[in-house]
């Protein structure tokens, strides 16, 4: 493995137009400061990274490394202090709140660690929520396909309180898929699950990438989870410190030790 300290991982924008490497999302020299003046903390210190369409990327790093901040900036939930963020070919810095909301609704999917579902809605209603907020009709075939792949057919009329944690996360994953987003962001999706439920969810995410050509970026601190990805990007102190392709569990653990995670 090569240690690529802050080396640009993507080519210059012109070069990216090459069809072979279509980027679902990318950050260019993203800097994020929290707070003002002397008390400000650098969460992201000039991060440039791209996520190729149809790939599954894990972001790892110790607490405070900036991995969640990077995810939030990429997803349009937070804005970088400087630098640029693209989802597809859309520059997020040019968008106001209304357009960002629309972008999240139409081109981005989310799976959080917890508080993923509305307790008042059934599983099916939760899955269809982003579409109904957008006033769009679901594609029934695609919906059926997603539901069957995730194995929720017989749970569609249940409310979250009647589902196990693993089932709830699968509903969240199905919700993120159903609008066919450009990219799905998952923030510690297995953090609250037991190992079996976690494995099921990761298998499903893997499937979404392999079968449906979905792009997924997942923040995790668990090497077992990260090993399901095509690539691991390691962050420390707001910088990208390493990258690992086709990772293994042991390799991920070794790298984490190396960067002090």
């Amino acid at each position: 493995m090569t240690l690529l300290l802050n080396a640009p991982l993507v080519a210059e924008p012109e070069a990216q137009l090459a069809p072979a490497k279509v980027m679902a999302a990318r950050a260019v020299d993203a800097v994020k400061l929290h707070g003002d003046g002397d008390t400000s903390v650098t969460a992201l210190d000039g991060v440039s990274v791209g996520f190729e369409r149809g790939t599954f990327t894990a972001i790892m790093g110790p607490s405070g490394s900036g991995k969640s901040t990077l995810l939030h900036c990429l997803a349009g939930l937070d804005t970088p202090t400087s630098g640029r963020i693209f989802v597809g070919d859309v520059d997020l810095s040019a968008l106001d709140d209304r357009r960002l909301t629309r972008l999240r609704r139409e081109r981005v999917g989310f799976v959080f660690q917890a508080f993923n579902l509305l307790p008042t809605l059934t599983a099916e209603e939760n899955i269809l929520l982003p579409l109904s907020l957008a006033g769009r009709d679901p594609d029934p075939e695609w919906f059926d396909q997603v539901v069957d792949v995730v194995g929720l057919r017989d749970r569609l009329n249940h409310r979250p309180a009647e589902l196990s944690g693993g089932q709830q996360q699968k509903v969240a994953a199905a919700r993120s898929l159903v609008s066919r987003p450009e990219i799905i962001f998952a923030d510690e999706p297995t953090g609250n699950l037991d190992s079996r439920a976690g494995r099921d969810l990761l298998a499903f995410l893997r499937l979404a990438v392999d079968e449906f050509n979905q792009t997924i970026v997942m923040v995790t601190h668990d090497p077992l989870a990260a090993a399901w990805a095509d690539r691991i990007v390691f962050l420390a102190d707001g910088r990208i410190v390493d990258e690992m392709l086709d990772p293994t569990i042991d390799g991920a653990v070794d790298h984490l030790k190396l960067i002090g995670g």
Binding site: R105, F110, L133
Partner: protein
């Protein structure tokens, strides 16, 4: 102890209680202020008078500036003047008089009827000089200032017998009598215009220096014949104040009832808030218990906060009370009750009662939630069982009911707002206890407003029906609405009407008070010969009216049967002027057209009452005469009496509706305070729910809910809660409205009417008010940064 984001709930709660406490405190400030103003006025009016000689009165009715007493014969004055120790004595004459402004319109009296009086030693002139001779008048300086009159100007004044023009000789110092508007004449003129030929209403006596009023009173007694009494001026003033305080007492009670309603609604909000907060803090309180706090200590941590809310809101309420008192005074002024006031009066008692009420209500409302906090075992509390409690509540009966109701009420909102309204509806349903408690607060206020609306509509419909079915008179003449009750219609009017061309029949109706079983009761006096031609009565009542003579009385059948009276029995009735009289029951009547339980003849009225004023005069036109000609003739006959209203049947109906509205408006205004408090409750519940659902809202924003959609969702929830409360209130009003209406049967309310459009309007209005209540919480929620909600690193 204060979780972040709970500032608004503290404020809402305190404001809710403060508004209710404000009404309590405002009630006392108002009545104390009026009381003091009245006391000041009577004290000033007493001036340098020590003893008053007047006719005895066997019965004193309610507050009236024109007491129901016989005049004092002029011959009494010399007898009084010869009593040793009398420095000065003079005859007083007073009576109803109405000042006319430059445009020929009656100057509206301020609270008390305008008083015309004879110039006396207790009056002071501030400019010009005292009135002398038949053509001069002195006008009180404040009315003169308001109307732009001064010495030398001509002034038209109306009296019972007609109107006259005078020259203003001077201006009277205000406050020298209880009435705020006053005109004064020299004695002979006053006796003429106020119709006291050769008599006084009372004699004012001043004692020699060194002689007490009481001693003078003792000396005066032997020289007075039967039927006269000397009383000290202080006692006379006390009597006036006592009857006044009684009237004020009614006002105080009525206002405190509204305050109690407001406190009840406020307490519901406190209860609801503490229930939610304790629920949210179950973990924290469980931790306290786990580290060894006793149940009492945990209850105290909750009650401490309630105590703080109670004290803060009570103090705020006291401040608001001044505004409330001011507002109520303005309201009364607008309705024609202007009382002499001299500065706002705040007694220590007001503070004690206000703080007591505020703190007690808050603590009582918080005690159940506080106890509930300790019922959860520490382990369960730490584990957190919120979700399962929510699911359980959904399956309760209340949960199902709220669910069904919300689903129906949300339908129009979903049409407008779409998906966000559905989410808002689901949020309203997910905690049925919270939603129903919040809606319940609104239900109480809306229910009462609804009952009032039903009663008012029933009263109007009954009045209209009575007029349409039974009134045969073509015109009814009465004092204009808003004219002082002491005014009435002078008897001269009826005589003029009888002489008017085209008028076929004139029937006078008078009303009066008398003592029965130790209490004041009211009666109606009619002319038995003509009353049945003006009012269509059922056959029994008609036969009864025809049997009435001057020694008899008609009694309502229901009133009589409760006392096992029959025709021929003798009823003891106490009249102010003539004492106890035995009247024989001539017959019983059942008609609800008459709004009193006793009816006597005009002859009996003349025998037993000092003031002879008609309440209404019914006028029938000759057959074939046109209404327009008849009106012209009546107007011509009454040209000298601009304060009289001439109404045909439709106008009578309109006037009675206006009369109902006059009560309806202040009652609704006072109930509106409870509605306001209930809306605060909605805002508060929403603020708490939003705080609770911060992360959920963040998730919604993250997956693509726009700010506008989020606001719509929360406003929808507010509107659903509000419309739920309003619908429940209207349903309750429809169910209960018949009770007060039924109890008003004997005063002529025979119809039960549900003002459907008004009741629906009430629900719509409440729903929009709910929208307003949801505006601020919705804005706060939309401003929540998404990241705070989904959690940072």
């Amino acid at each position: 102890m204060q979780p972040a984001g709970h500032g608004p709930r503290f404020f809402h709660m305190a404001l809710a209680v403060a508004l209710a406490v404000g009404l309590v405190s405002g009630t006392f400030v108002l009545t104390d202020t009026i009381d003091a103003g009245f006391h000041g006025a009577t004290t000033a009016a007493r001036g340098s008078v020590d003893v008053v000689v007047r006719s005895t009165s066997a019965f004193s009715g309610d507050a009236s500036a024109l007491p129901e007493r016989d005049p004092v014969a002029a011959e009494v004055l010399p007898a009084v003047l010869f009593v040793p120790g009398v420095q000065m004595a003079w005859g007083n004459v007073w009576g109803w008089a109405q000042v006319v402004d430059r445009d020929g319109k009656a100057v509206p009296p301020k609270g008390m009827p305008t008083v015309g009086a004879a110039w006396g030693a207790d009056q002071r002139i501030v400019s010009g000089r005292a009135p002398q001779g038949p053509g001069e008048v002195a006008l009180d300086a404040s009315t003169a200032g308001a109307q732009g009159f001064g010495p030398g100007d001509r002034l038209k004044v109306m009296f019972g017998g007609g109107s006259e023009e005078f020259v203003i000789s001077g201006l009277l110092k205000p406050g020298s009598m209880v009435a705020s508007t006053m005109v004064s004449f020299d004695l002979p003129t006053a006796q003429r215009v106020l119709q006291r030929p050769g008599a006084f209403d009372a004699i004012s006596v001043r004692a020699d220096p060194g002689l007490t009023a009481e001693a003078l009173r003792t000396r005066l007694r032997p020289v007075l014949s039967d039927g006269y009494e000397p009383v000290t001026a202080a006692q006379a003033a006390n009597e006036a104040e006592a009857s006044w305080s009684k009237a004020l007492g009614f006002l105080t009670t009525a206002l405190l009832v509204f305050a109690a309603i407001a406190l009840l609604v406020g307490s519901l909000i406190i209860f609801n808030t503490f229930s939610i907060v304790v629920g949210q803090r179950t973990r924290e309180l469980g931790l306290l218990r786990a580290v060894g706090a006793s149940r009492g200590q945990v209850i105290w941590t909750v009650l401490k906060e309630a105590l703080a809310v109670g004290v803060a809101s009570s103090l705020g309420g006291i401040v608001l009370g001044f505004g409330v008192a001011r507002g109520l005074l303005e309201l009364m002024r607008a309705l024609g009750y202007d009382y002499p006031t001299a500065g706002v009066v705040f007694l220590p008692r007001t503070a004690f009662v206000a703080v007591g009420a505020g703190v007690t209500v808050t603590l009582l409302a918080a005690i159940l939630p506080a106890r509930r906090a300790t019922k959860v075992s520490p382990v369960d509390a730490l584990a957190g069982t919120g979700q399962s409690a929510e699911t359980r509540a959904l399956k309760s009966i209340r949960g199902r009911l709220v669910g069904v109701a919300a689903r129906v009420l949300a339908l129009p909102l979903i049409r407008v707002f779409g998906r966000p309204a559905m989410l808002g509806r689901d949020n309203a349903v997910r905690n049925p206890r919270r939603t129903s408690a919040t809606a319940c607060a609104l239900m109480i206020g809306i229910g009462l407003v609804g009952v009032v609306a039903i009663v008012a509509a029933s009263m109007k419909a009954s009045a209209e029906r009575t007029v349409r079915d039974t009134l045969r008179a073509d015109f009814v003449v009465s004092a204009k609405p808003g004219a002082p009750s002491g005014g009435g219609v002078p008897p001269a009017v009826a005589d003029r009407l009888r002489r008017a061309p085209g008028v076929d029949a004139v029937s006078e109706i008078r009303t009066g008070e008398f003592g029965f079983e130790g209490k004041a009761s009211s009666l109606v006096a009619v002319d038995p010969a003509t009353v049945t031609t003006m009012h269509e009565l059922d056959s029994t009542s008609k036969a009864a009216a025809l049997q009435l003579d001057d020694s008899g009385v008609l009694v309502r059948d229901s009133f009589a049967s409760a006392r096992r009276w029959r025709a021929g029995d003798v009823v003891p009735m106490t009249f102010a002027r003539t004492g106890e009289q035995q009247l024989r029951i001539a017959a019983l009547y059942s008609t609800t057209t008459v709004r009193a339980d006793f009816v006597i003849s005009l002859g009996a009225f003349e025998n037993n009452f000092a003031q002879q004023l008609d309440t209404e005069i019914d006028v029938g036109l000759a057959p074939g005469a046109s209404i327009a000609d008849g009106r012209a003739a009546v107007q011509q006959a009454l040209a000298d009496f601009p304060s009289l209203a001439i109404m045909d049947r439709n106008e009578v109906i309109a006037a009675q509706s206006a009369q109902v509205d006059k009560i309806l408006v202040p009652v609704t205004a006072l109930l509106a305070l409870s509605l306001l408090i209930a809306l605060l409750g909605i805002a508060n519940t929403l603020a708490l729910s939003i705080h609770e659902r911060t992360r959920e809202l963040g998730m919604l924003r993250a997956i693509g809910m726009a700010r506008g959609q989020l606001r719509s969702m929360i406003r929808s929830e507010a509107m659903i809660i509000a419309s739920l409360g309003a619908v429940l209130g209207v349903v309750a009003a429809v169910g209960l409205g018949s009770v007060p209406v039924a109890s008003m049967r004997t005063v002529g309310v025979t119809e039960l009417v549900f003002p459907v459009a008004q009741l629906i309007g009430l629900v719509v209005l409440a729903t929009f008010a709910g929208l307003l209540a949801g505006v601020l919480p919705a804005r706060r929620a939309a401003r929540l940064p998404v990241l705070d909600a989904v959690g940072r690193d």
